[in-house]
């Protein structure tokens, strides 16, 4: 016997319990999966806080990802409370045992004066550009918006900074700061793919800006055409969410480390030598810092830079991309960073090795004693920690430096 819409609606009401907006509002967060079954265009106008969006058109295909446990409570809502009743019947048919529909839907919710969230709405151009990110649940439009609002600072627009800058820009990281005082040299082009033959002799930060904006004009490039030193480091890193260390001197790496720990900004570290690279992420106080890993720098003959020792061009390329992966995870708050782990890469063997790192309880920069001393306005001096930490910053500048000749 044919059934009318009224018949179907009555059957659905008989089968599916309904809950009021007040009841839904009083549910403790996390105790039920709340699913908005409206169309995307309605979702974009606003939705319940913490709700997930699964359009009724896709409910059979997508509900298992949103609500994997068939015995856990699920509450569906739509605009007025009808579509959610029918969607709930589908879930009941699929074996969900605790499905309810919110009476009156989102209109009743708003009418009751309850809080709602308006999701990030990307422009049509952005939806196209970042469509492969939007398809990934871990990124999605909220993650993409987060990237667009993020600020990443690259120390060095060279071998490591080149792939990092390009992929951060492609990913839509909204602000990319570049610290580099150098000009493009023809010998850079074997690996520094931000720059071009036509731009030899130009300032690297300017050459990088041209490359970044050619790839993604949305990115705001901040040019810091200066050498990172103790006197300017706090100003240079201020306001950035993550820093990618791609410098080629120990002096800069220690200065950056100390300031970033004090400012609480994660630093993604990489360094290269011929066919080898090292990579880790220093998340202040969650894992070790650079000084925990290397309390003192080696003498120059044990640590020549690329201009002295040479480097296979792809090695900084690979390490720079791994740095970018770390930076994106930090910005998105997903996955597990390399905090507390050092990855070694050997290009000749195509071999990755992982070593465990620990916070040094006597670290002059990130130990509890160092934090307390800094709070008290008396940063630990080298002598008080019994170490021989180089370049420890004092109020008057550096306690020690590497000579220019020793720099790679």
């Amino acid at each position: 016997m044919p059934k009318s819409y009224a018949d179907l609606l009555r059957e659905a009401r008989d089968q599916i319990p309904e809950v009021s907006v007040q009841e839904v509002d009083s549910i403790a967060p996390g105790t039920a999966t709340i699913v908005d079954v409206r169309e995307a265009s309605e979702w974009e106008q606003g939705h319940l806080p913490g709700a997930q969006h699964v359009s009724k058109s896709y409910i059979e295909q997508q509900i298992e990802a949103a609500a994997p446990d068939r015995d856990a409570p699920v509450i569906l809502y739509c605009a007025g409370g009808i579509r959610s009743l029918f969607a709930a019947r589908t879930l009941a048919d699929m074996g969900y045992t605790d499905v309810k529909s919110m009476k009156g839907g989102f209109q009743a919710w708003k009418g009751a004066g309850l809080d709602f969230e308006t999701p990030v709405v990307l422009t049509a151009e952005q939806k196209q550009r970042y469509s492969r990110h939007l398809l990934i649940p871990e990124v999605g439009s909220a993650g993409q918006k987060r990237l667009l609002e993020s600020k990443a600072l690259l120390i060095g627009a060279g071998g490591l900074g080149s792939p990092a800058a390009l992929y951060l820009a492609a990913a839509g990281v909204g602000t990319i700061g570049l610290v580099d005082f150098d000009v493009v040299d023809v010998s850079n082009l074997q690996r520094q793919i931000l720059h071009t033959t036509a731009r030899v002799g130009e300032r690297k930060v300017e050459s990088a800006r041209i490359a970044i904006n050619a790839l993604n004009p949305d990115v705001n490039v901040v040019e810091h055409e200066e050498m990172l030193v103790a006197d300017n480091v706090a100003r240079l890193i201020d306001g950035y969410d993550v820093i990618l260390d791609g410098t080629d001197t120990f002096e800069t790496r220690y200065i950056l480390n100390d300031a970033a720990v004090a400012a609480g900004i994660p630093v993604v570290h990489a360094s290269v030598f011929r066919f080898e690279g090292q990579l880790t992420t220093f998340v202040p106080y969650e894992g070790p810092c650079y000084r925990c890993l290397y309390p003192t720098p080696p003498p120059p003959e044990l640590a020549p830079g690329c201009s002295v020792a040479g480097v296979l061009g792809v090695v900084p390329g690979i390490l720079g991309l791994l740095q970018t992966n770390e930076a994106l995870k930090v910005l998105l708050g997903i996955g597990h960073t390399l905090a507390g782990r050092l990855v070694l890469f050997d290009a000749l063997e195509t071999e990755f090795t992982e070593l465990q790192l620990r916070r040094d309880p006597a670290c002059p920069v990130c130990s509890d004693a160092a934090v307390e001393a800094r709070k008290a306005g008396r940063p630990l001096a080298v002598s008080t920690v019994g170490g021989d930490a180089p370049f420890l910053m004092t109020t008057t500048g550096l306690a020690g430096t590497v000579s220019p000749e020793a720099r790679a």
Binding site: T247, T249, R253, S271, P295, T296, L302, L344, L355, R358
Partner: protein, 90 residues
């Protein structure tokens, strides 16, 4: 015999070998064995007092010996020992 992995920056001191098999039941005896065979490593790995230089990290099976027992960290015959100096290139 433990396997000691030599970083490329130190390979010149050991005739280019990427790894060496060295006898010894502690980091101290492994390092001493290395230095005995390749004396020029001595100045790079050890201080004048015979301690490990702080710019060379030593790992046993992925763990930093500074957080184990330093030079007295025991080494089993199948353990992997890795010497790791910092690198600066970018």
């Amino acid at each position: 015999m433990s396997i000691v992995f030599i970083p490329s920056v130190l390979r010149g001191s050991v005739g280019g070998a990427k790894s060496l098999e060295v006898d010894g039941d502690s980091i101290r005896s492994v390092v001493d064995g290395l230095v005995e065979r390749h004396p020029s490593l001595g100045g790079q790995l050890l201080t004048g007092d015979g301690d490990l230089n702080r710019f060379v990290n030593v790992y046993v099976n992925g763990q930093d010996v500074r957080y184990l027992a330093g030079l007295d960290t025991p080494v089993a015959p199948t353990d992997e020992v890795r010497l790791l100096p910092a690198m600066a290139g970018g």
